[in-house]
C-alpha cells in the first residue's frame, strides 16, 4: 500500500501540478524530538517514466510522520509546542551559522548538531540576522531530533528598532523578499524537524510582508487532521 503509480499526459512545453491520492498508513512509526522517542524516517521516492523514453527523472527525501503544533499559552504567555499531541519542554540553543566565511560542510553540521543533541537540547533557533539554513543542516536535525525555529531575514536592530532607527519598512524590495521566502520554504518544507517559521528577530516584518507570509504559510485545509484527543490548533 506504500507504492502508487498514476498515468498522466503532460502537454508539450508545459508545467503542471499533480497531487497523488493520499497514501494510507496504519500506526506509522512517528518522528519524535530528541529525548521523546525515535526519529523514525521513511524514504519517499518519486519517479516519472515517459513512454518511449524510460525513466525521465526521480527524486527522494527522508520524511518523518509527525504533527507539530504551537500556540501562545495563556497561562505562561510563552509559546507552547506540542509534537504528536504531546507537550514538549523546549530546551533550545541559538544558532547564527557554522562559519563566518560560509565554509559550510556536512561534517561540520553533523558535529555541531550532534553536539546539541548530546547536550539534551531539542530545538535550535536560527536567528534572523544569519541564514536560512541549508538542507544539510535540516537533515541532521531530522536525524538527531532537533526541532528548528527558522527566522526570516529581519532583525530589530537593522529593521526599525536599532540606534539610529533605520529601515523602518525593511528591505527596499518587498517582492524580492517574498520571492526568496517562498523559494526557501519550497527548499526546506519537507523536513520533519522544521517546527516554526518566524517573521524576524525582535521585530515584526513590514505589514505587507507579514500578511503575505501568514497567508503563504497557512496549513492547507486538505491537511487539517482533527483528532478526538487533540483538537487541531490551526
Amino acid at each position: 500500500e506504500h507504492l502508487q503509480t498514476r498515468n498522466l499526459s503532460i502537454p508539450a512545453k508545459s508545467r503542471v501540478q499533480y497531487t497523488f491520492p493520499e497514501l494510507f498508513f496504519y500506526k506509522p512509526n512517528l518522528w519524535w524530538p530528541n529525548g521523546m522517542g525515535k526519529q523514525s524516517l521513511y524514504n519517499v521516492v518519486i519517479s516519472i517514466d515517459v513512454k518511449e523514453f524510460g525513466e525521465s527523472d526521480s527524486w527522494s527525501h527522508l520524511f518523518g510522520f509527525r504533527k507539530i503544533e504551537s500556540h501562545i499559552d495563556d497561562a505562561t504567555g510563552g509559546r507552547l509546542f506540542k509534537v504528536n499531541g504531546e507537550p514538549v519542554f523546549i530546551r533550545g540553543g541559538n544558532w547564527i551559522l557554522s562559519d563566518g566565511l560560509l565554509r559550510l560542510s556536512k561534517k561540520r553540521y553533523n558535529t555541531d548538531i550532534k553536539f546539541h543533541a548530546d547536550m539534551n537540547f531539542n530545538m535550535i533557533r536560527c536567528w534572523g540576522g544569519g541564514l536560512a539554513e541549508r538542507p544539510e543542516f535540516y537533515h541532521y536535525c531530522d536525524y538527531y531530533g532537533i526541532l528548528v525555529w527558522q527566522e526570516f531575514w529581519i532583525t530589530g536592530d537593522v529593521d526599525g528598532r536599532g540606534v539610529p532607527i533605520s529601515n523602518p519598512k525593511g528591505p527596499l524590495d518587498h517582492d524580492l523578499f517574498l520571492f526568496c521566502a517562498r523559494d526557501t520554504v519550497k527548499l526546506l518544507r519537507n523536513h520533519p524537524s522544521l517546527a516554526l517559521w518566524v517573521g524576524g528577530n525582535e521585530q515584526t516584518p513590514p505589514d505587507d510582508i507579514n500578511a503575505a507570509l501568514k497567508i503563504d504559510l497557512r496549513l492547507h485545509p486538505d491537511f487539517e487532521s482533527v483528532d478526538e484527543n487533540t483538537k487541531s490548533m490551526g
Binding site: 503542471v16 524514504n43 519517479s47 520524511f63 566565511l101 491537511f223
Partner: protein, 265 residues
Amino acid sequence: MAEEHHRKTTLDGGSWLAARSTEVKFTGTQLTTTHPPTSSTSPWIQAVVPGTVLATLVKNKVVPDPFYGLQNEAIIDIADSGREFYTFWFFTTFHCNLSTNQYCDLNFRGINYSADVYLNGHKTVLPKGMFRRHSIDVTDILHPDGNNLLAVLVHPPDHPGTIPPEGGQGGDHEIGKDVTTQYVEGWDWMTPIRDRNTGIWDEVSISVTGPVKIIDPHLVSSFFDNYERAYLHTTTELENRSSWTAECSLTVQVTMELEDSICLV
C-alpha cells in the same frame, strides 16, 4: 542525504578558479570560449566553492585568517575598497554529454548577492537575492564535444554599508536594504565580514533529465484516531520540455529505513 535529485552532479572541490574582476582583462564570453584561464596564470587562484570571496582569499593566504587575533583589522573593508574590489570571477569546466530527448539544468542553490553566468560564450544574468535558487536550462548551449567552460561573475550586496568607528549591531544598517544575511556588518558578538559574505555560497550542480522533470515535491502528513491512522499527501510540479505531449507514469514509493541501507518495503 536528505533530499536527492538522482541525476544531480555537484560542481565543487578543487576544480574552481577565482580572480578579482578588476584584474581580469577578458570578458565572460572570451573566458568561456577563446581565453579560458588556467590555474598557473595570475591573477587566477584556486577557489573555495561553495564558499565566499574571503574564504578563497584566506585559503590562498592572500589575506590573513580574520578569526585569529586582530587579523580582521588587516583586511580592507568593502566600504573602503568599493564593491568592485570584492567582485570576483569564478571559473570551472565540466563534462556533460546528452543523448536524444535529454535536458540539462545548471543549478545554483545560493548566490550572494547577484551574478552574471557565462557558459560556452552564452550569458545569463542571475537576479539579486541571497536566499533563492537559480536553475538555467543549458541544454542548447552545451558543447557538442561535452567539454564545457563556465564563468560566474559574482557581485556583492548592493548596500554593503559602512562600519561606524564604534561598531554596533549591524553597523550603519545599510545591509538591511538588501535581502541578505545581516550579521555581516558586525554585531556585539561579531566583527564585520569584510566581503559581506559575497560569493557562490551554496551548492552548484548540473542535473540531466528526460523530457519531464520533477520540481519541488511537497510531502504532508495528516493524522486521525490518535495517530493510528495517517495519510501522506504528495504533490509535485512536473515540467514537460519536449515539443510533444508526454504520456507518463508517475510513481511514489515509501520505504521504512530500518537501519542504514536496509529498507522494509
